[in-house]
Assembly symmetry: C2
Homo-oligomer: 147 residues x 2
């Protein structure tokens, strides 16, 4: 049963991040397709995951077509390889005109380049860094300061 | 020159996260010591990094003592290995009573266990996941929804 605002969401990479997103988004009623070259990774999908699994290399157009990329509202690139994420995100955005494309990028130095290529990114390293710095800046870290 | 609220900060791991934190915190005037077993990683420290570098395995007490762990106000465990981060964070917190200890943990399932062991954690995977989910929930992802 499709909920009213159900989106068609493709997630490339079924690692910790990809499987977590797939489980959560499927649970709230979105149509989710997960693509991963390694079938084993699908073991991290929860038993009530109601989406589809596609085994294959997402940098191959045939695999993306199998996932019905054309119909996607949202496309997440979450593999462990920045280059793969950038490539599949660009295919989704530029060739298949998926309205919302988001890629994980590990190397903070690449964020700017990706932005210039029109790809929205989330960099866990940068986000974690901000959180560590906030812990120091908030003064929390200074409370017990040794003299 | 030490600024008034300068903290003594030890960072274990000089990868992307560790080196970024070291550069930022040194720049604003904190006393920073970075520990890494691989001397090469120190190349990521900026030329104006004014802190100290300690080459060695931070799970060895001798290395932590060399970094003057006793004097630390803040201790960050940022290596790529969850187990190493947990171990050194516990040493800093329980044995050396460093007031503020924060560890990076990649596996979200471990966050809860670490919390029970009294170690504050930052999980880049969880943070990134929340940001992806927010992108969907904010409706931004639905704006261009295909019919």
């Amino acid at each position: 049963m499709k909920m009213k605002n159900s989106l068609y969401i493709i997630i490339v990479g079924c690692g910790r991040l990809g499987s977590y997103l797939a489980n959560q988004l499927s649970r709230v009623g979105h149509s989710v397709v997960v693509i991963d070259a390694d079938e084993q990774t699908f073991n991290d999908l929860s038993p009530d995951f109601s989406g589809f699994r596609v085994v294959g290399d997402a940098t191959r157009i045939a695999i993306l077509k199998e996932a019905k990329l054309k119909q996607a509202d949202v496309f997440f690139a979450t593999t462990h390889w920045d280059n793969v994420n950038l490539m599949v995100a660009q295919i989704a955005r530029k060739l298949f005109h998926v309205p919302h494309v988001l890629a994980r990028v590990f190397d903070p130095h690449r964020e700017e380049i990706y932005k210039q290529l029109g790809i929205e990114t989330i960099c866990p390293t940068s986000v974690a860094a901000e959180m560590f710095l906030m812990a120091v800046a908030s003064g929390k870290a200074g409370e017990g300061k040794k003299q």
